[in-house]
Symmetry: D2
Subunit: 333 residues, 4 copies
């Protein structure tokens, strides 16, 4: 059983059905009716007017989003181990034309105004120095933590004060919403978020993400940058269909709840091995090399993030019962 | 009936079936068995060792391919109206870090050594001037022409002489092969091609293309550039599955033949309106504004490329019988 | 005697004296008094508030100026043989992050609204296509022509209508002013120019140019981009001193008049060999290979631009009497 | 008296004389005899064949040097507070097309194999992660330390083992050589250095630096990149002349010794305020705000690097006697 990533999960049957339903002669790129309907659909979901730029990967979504808010000579405040820093091979640098990621230490991958303020103050203000133009945070974080609304709002306030844009890498935004049990608006624009990378792939879609622009005036630039990045799919209807399917009957929420529940179900088995509170669908455990080997010998797949630290990710397709074998194996260590 | 582009066609049922068959828990990115098997599969198809970099758009494939062969301070010889020049919003400039596209006039979009030589000779050799590092040609061309093997070989020879890499934009490579009725190797490496953007989307796939590296030593760089460009799909198995399906039982060939046949079936109806010989699946017709309006009123969709010039593209899903209404309408003008 | 370029001329004694006068302990970069005084000095010269960004090369000035007005996904309309196109090795592409130069045919290197309009209309408007954001013209042109105020205003009007910024490559702006015998404002912002690359090197300075921003609000970005481009000199006072010296007692004008007069003095000797009217300090002559060889054998240095076309450039240090030997040699051909 | 930077110093009289001596009609760019002679002159100086690319700033030299060795998707190991990181506004990112600077902690700005190894090991090896291609170190360091030959060789050995290029930012290379009292070859290629940014501006030149390529085969690319960056001066002879003058009769060494001696002369006055050993021409002192204000009131100019830390830089034009007033003032605190 694979716990490497929620990307190992299959596609949800309702998403696959939507893909099949879209399989007909239609206009190319994003001129089809499904793509054209996205702005309205997500504006309703977010309770305000938004523009939706579908994308096929989260890396591309993050880089595109940040390229709209940070010039080549600027910098982006983020945490030291953010996905944009360590897992995207310089995609932000490519799309921004060479802007710099300015890492801040952040326990659990959770930024806070104090750490941001310290980093901002460390930066010179003259022309010799990279000035920050944006903050990028991840919610749920790379360590499975979820920002509270108050935490987000505090960062949003700092951003307004400092003239910084606020980007959220929401590869697991649904898991964060499910944990907070609140509306999408609460963890986004109402807290001061300007642009959101909204992930669906990890939550049951095939390869479908979106950049949500809370300032729709930037949509034309975003669409040109998407094309320039080679991300305007020729047959866009197959990705648009997935986004609609994920919103239909709150499939996104049901899936995220299942993934979160599966992770939560593992917690009682791990005791004080747990390195971060489990608020979404990831567990980080302190395990020895022997223990890891023992688990692998039983067929469990997972990543060793660094020496002695293992990451387990649950997904929408796993019922609590499905992860019981892992719970048992962990408890038996 | 839509003749705007072969991108308006649906996905071939066998491709859709392959996608469904791949729908299971599996390794992420390109660590799944289907992705891992691509190099071997295509090496057999091309009769030599190649590396396969799956991509989701042709624009991304072209830009990635060229970024491997042209430095930021270099130039790429191509024809004035090549897709990379007029339809990709500067994707090549983005991926190469600012290399320049050096257009050459080319009737029917078909480059030839003489036109290339003239353009090369027009470029200064000193450090002030952009030097060419590659030639990019499109086959079948943007005007539905197909290069003969001799034409390709002549360009390949020029490239070797001048130290230029040779890239082929093969968005409609299958249509070209079907027309020439020859093996993939003949229109690629045997003629001197270094790197090929191999299209499947227009020929029945969902959003699936590939960069074929005839120099597999460049694969590591290509894979890093793919990730950096945000094109490493999280669930790569759904794209790898399509590439396998297209090769299975020569589905690619059957599809391309159908598209070409549908285009050929329209030729008798158009008389001297035809602006370029029909060798693949596109027709370019001289039509007045009134004539275009008349056709549109009958439900035919097509692009007006420039004043008085209309483009009709057929696709794999159209039998000759399917395009008969258009043939009649054209004949009746 | 060298007529390759006005860059072959020495530094004017008054400029050298200004450099020596600046040779003292002082603040680094542009914090010295001479650099700090440039905005005020040039604001007076231009009869409006401007910001001055000193630069050491015209190539760097052009690329910086255009990077302020054209995003990476945009294009810049210019003539086919503009210096930015053929003589700067892609500097504009580097500084803009990959914007595209959109060449227009232009006899004598002189753009006009009709040619610009035709080029604009040839460009698609959708996201697939590079959209223009600026026009870049050269005055005096690369062929020694000078725009009239009316010609400039017509282009300025087009730019306003189309929402395009207007940049002037003024490597020989002084020669143009001297020819038109008008104030700097007339050939710049009063005609609709947004940003000017103002050259002094060819007119008697050592390696000193400036970007003149008629919108001083862009100065902060320009200064950051200058630093990022490695063009913020550590000892900026030595370049600032030159700009002041060039304005002092209208040295710029005296120098440009001398260069123009030297060129004009050659005209009677060349008859119908002359390919472009001489309005600044360059002559383009139709000469056979034998004639060129004959001139070279007599010690005259000049560039052969293309087969049968020779360029002769005069400079501020040449009196009419100094070029008499060349006049005689040309007349004797 | 200004101790902000060695950039505040004037130009050495012999350099100014060389500039005047070069002031004549000559070939443009780097076609003049002085520029053409640089390769041979510096090859002798370095005791092996090198190629010399003159540049006008250290920032430009660093960025150009690194662009030759690190692709856009790569990274450059350096220390957290290196000039390329904190004082160049992203110049490396611009010239490399978006490569990443990978900071390592380094006391005194002095890298060591252990810190580099730790950083390398922290980087993932897959396509998701930025891979290092080069190490960039500064000698003398930004904190006035000088690498021993053994220290350099150890880093050079690590670079060879790991397949990394080794770049030295030698803005104060002369000060390092003067301190070590060794030949230029010892602190460069013999220790494994591939490319050196060789500074002269801080040591008595006007705005003159050089990139020294120990692999001359890269010279053509370097020269094209210099032009593209707008750094090919039109009148290059005025910069080439300076480089020759600095080597003549070892002016570089005399100047560096004077600057180092002036710094050393301050040491006895500062007691345990000294934060780093003084090996070149910089002192870093622990001073309270009141103490700094007191010094400034006496006319001493210096930078406060961070709260409580002041930097004093001496220069070639200061005799030991010249800095005595500062020594007295510091001793009196």
């Amino acid at each position: 059983m694979l716990f490497y990533s929620d990307n190992t999960a299959p596609v949800h049957p309702k998403v696959m059905e939507a893909i099949r339903a879209a399989d007909a002669v239609d206009f190319a790129y994003d001129a089809d009716a499904l793509s054209q309907a996205l702005d309205a659909r997500f504006s309703e979901w977010f309770e305000r007017e938004v523009a939706v730029i579908w994308m096929s990967t989260g890396t591309a979504a993050n880089a595109l989003a940040l390229s709209l808010y940070c010039p080549p000579y600027g910098g982006i405040l983020t945490h030291d181990n953010a996905h944009v820093v360590v897992d995207e091979c310089g995609a932000v640098e490519l799309q921004t034309g060479g802007a710099r990621l300015l890492g801040c230490p952040a326990s659990g991958g959770t930024l806070n105004p104090s750490a941001l303020r310290t980093r901002i103050d460390s930066l010179g203000k003259g022309v010799h120095h990279t000035r920050p133009f944006a903050v990028s945070l991840t919610n749920a974080t790379e360590y499975g933590r979820v920002y509270t609304r108050a935490q987000l709002e505090d960062i949003g306030t700092l951003c307004r004060t400092e003239g910084l844009a606020l980007h959220v890498d929401g590869a697991r935004f649904a898991n964060a919403l499910a944990h907070q049990n609140c509306a999408p608006a609460e963890l986004s624009w109402r807290a001061g978020v300007d642009v959101l990378s909204l992930g669906f792939t990890k939550n049951g879609a095939m390869n479908a993400e979106a950049v949500i622009l809370f300032d729709p005036a930037r949509a034309d630039e975003a669409r040109r940058r998407r094309k320039r990045a080679g991300h305007l799919l020729s047959k866009g209807r197959y990705i648009a269909a997935q986004l609609h399917a994920m919103l239909e009957d709150d499939l996104w929420l049901a899936n995220a709840r299942k993934a979160n529940a599966a992770a939560a179900a593992l917690v009682p088995a791990v005791g004080d091995r747990l390195l971060h509170p489990v608020e979404a669908n990831e567990l980080f455990l302190s395990l020895s090399a022997d223990e890891m080997a023992h688990l692998r010998a039983q067929g469990f797949g997972f990543h060793e993030l660094e020496s002695g630290v293992a990451r387990f990710v649950t997904s929408w397709h796993q019922e609590v019962a499905d992860v019981a074998p892992l719970a048992s194996a962990l408890a038996a260590l």
